[in-house]
Point group: C2
Chain length 81, copies 2
């Protein structure tokens, strides 16, 4: 079994109001020195067998089109075979 972790985050130049709200809350609750907070999504995908070849290519493509919005988001994909 392969476990694939896809992390999706807003591109650095896109404003992240959720992250900003978390940053404010952390500071108000006493955590000093918080410079930036970004909130993203994480998908943990369990796949039968090894992930390689066409299936790996397809998952990479779908991560960029289905799991993330390429206009405003970047993604990273990590495979643990």
């Amino acid at each position: 079994m392969a476990r694939v972790v896809v992390n999706v985050a807003l591109k650095p130049e896109i404003l992240d109001p959720q992250g900003r709200a978390v940053q404010g809350a952390l500071s108000r609750l006493g955590l000093s020195g918080v410079m930036d907070v970004r909130q993203g999504k994480q998908f943990i995908i369990d796949i039968d067998g090894e992930l390689e070849g066409d299936r790996a290519d397809l998952l990479e493509k779908l991560a960029g089109e289905l799991l993330s919005n390429p206009v405003i988001e970047d993604f990273t994909l990590t495979v643990e075979n």
Copy 2:
């Protein structure tokens, strides 16, 4: 500067309808062998200076109370000092 990554995921026994929807979509779009998908949140927190002592303890506490809902979610916290 320290970068803290907090990953928040639903506990395994909690139904994840978003993950289920993604699982269905991946399969429909031609990816075979998808056994399970779980969707979680990721917070990337940049902190001034080193994170240690009281500040590290406070952030760990806030990750469990503010960033995640301890009734239905687990979190992992990774510090890159």
